[in-house]
Amino acid sequence: MNKTFRKILVANRGEIAVRIIRTCREMGIISVAVYSDVDRRALHVRVADEAYLIGAAKPSASYLNIDKIIGVAKKCRAQAIHPGYGFLAENPNLVKRCEKEGIVFIGPPSKAMEIMGSKTASRAQMAKADVPIIPGTLEPIENEKKLEAEAEKIGYPVILKASAGGGGKGLRLVKKKKELVSSFRLARSEAESSFDDPSVYIEKYIQKPHHIEVQILADHSGNIVYLGERECSIQRRYQKVLEETPSPFLDENIRHEMGREAVKVAATVDYRNAGTVEFVVDKNKKFYFLEMNTRLQVEHPVTEMVTGIDLVKCQIEIAAGLPLAFRQEDIKPNGYSLQCRIYAEDPDNDFMPSPGKILHLRAPSGGLGIRDDNGIYEGYEVPMEYDPLLSKLVTWGQTRAEAIHRMLRAISEYKIYGIRTTVPFFKRILRHPQFFAGDYNTHFIPSMQKEIDGDEPKDELIALIAAGIKSYCESKGGLGFRKKQKTSHWKTQGRWESLKRRP
């Protein structure tokens, strides 16, 4: 038997719940899924050992409802809860409740989570620990007078950010002094409506920035290791689109320097669990602490592909009190890995969400260095209530070029029909000479989108011919096409023999 838990409740849905359940099964742990009304047929329910309905589609009634989740855990005697990412993953109340109920929370202690949950508190603590942070205020700006003074001190351009923010909401870039006050007011109002908290702080705006994060693991015994970085600069509206490791922008020295800083960040807050320290890196490779995500990250698979380490397994082992099975010098990342986030969004229509039924699905699985972490199946109805991530397609290669070409091949085999997805969008990125050269920063996608898309005119021709053939079959009632091959091969063989003479 395994030395961790007999049974784990996975307090999440979609691809990440499926991914966690898979590791549970590999570890011999009984997995328990929870699901909302619209998720009765979701893949994470289908692959789980046990599953319990916890409420209505609205997250507050189900996936965000601590009472209901704790209720199921107690009823089915789960010894631990894995929160995945999103939903309750960074909610200290669940951690505290778990402590009270004697259930292990597979994550950090509540105190580390609380500190990192506040952008200003974490900045302050990191500044104290001599971790480099972006010049700016550490506290919310109280009034417009202080705002102007700070902006002068830092120097334009500056950026205004919601203290409680994330995902680009309540963000404002200010290039000139005259835009400062109006931007401040807008940012506060957005922050208020998005997060119930109007607090806004100010920072130096980093030009041509890279968004690079470092994966760490920390156990109960104070062992902390870093597992290399992930380059997350391919973003659209502050949302990550494609991630890769190693970053084509970093060199070995900076890489290890960032790794050591990430370990220091974790140590500073007595961290425990897998975690990610996010940095912004300027064009001169100077890096600044941005925030720490105290949970499994969406893009964790690329790190797994180059290190061979199952991060969810590590999380579970750490939560069970086991020491890390390896030391820093044992971690030798090998090769290159990319991840494409496939969303139910229409890239030809301003990335509008596209929920609905998946009528046809063919996902690539074969060949070396391919991984498809999805949460869907043919016939599945993607609900409109949750985020649109359908799948994370991941490739590995001995070289970065090999990983990219492998991704293009995998993308060419990925067929999702019935809803619109971002699958075709990735071809544009992957084939872009700047991306291929590894020469990009967070401005890449906006500038790429301004370029004209070099559509294949050939595809249009094929589509017309296909429609013509379909129309022909309809009018002739299918005529002669073997819709279902019920007759024997031998009987029909002669009929097709003539086709061999086709030039």
Binding site: S412, R420, A463, C473
Partner: protein, 163 residues
Amino acid sequence: MNVSFWLDDKEFRLKLTQTKTNDILVTLGENKYRVSVEILGGDEILLNIDGKIHDVIVNANVTSYTVYVNGRCFQIEKKSALQILGPKTGKQQKANVNTSMPGRIVKVLLNEGDEVAEGQAVLILEAMKMQNEIKSPQRGRLGKVCPKAGDSVETGALLFTVD
């Protein structure tokens, strides 16, 4: 058999002649294509066009075909030239804006009777945790604005009209 299709407001005339049980000769303009066809079941069709393989999906409805080729999606209309060109050549027509996705109305930005510019946001629809501006496809005056803030709408529901 001759057919006419419309794709991106352009007309295409195809001539289809069956030559063998699974073979069709397709003529499009000056060009001829020898197409060997396998119906794979469902909407999947495997085309072998002069040796080149194309694994496509064709979903038919009354007025159009939705064709997936190499991950791209083409909407091929069966409508005749007159039906399509009508609204384009005549004077500005009334536009109905329907929603392409289900969701909840977060905010209605303009009222019935208001002037709108082409591309101006009329309301905000939330689906999959994203807020999406629904914009007017043309300049004009708002006729009906159907849903109120807080309403849920199904795919295809009329959101507003522009006169």
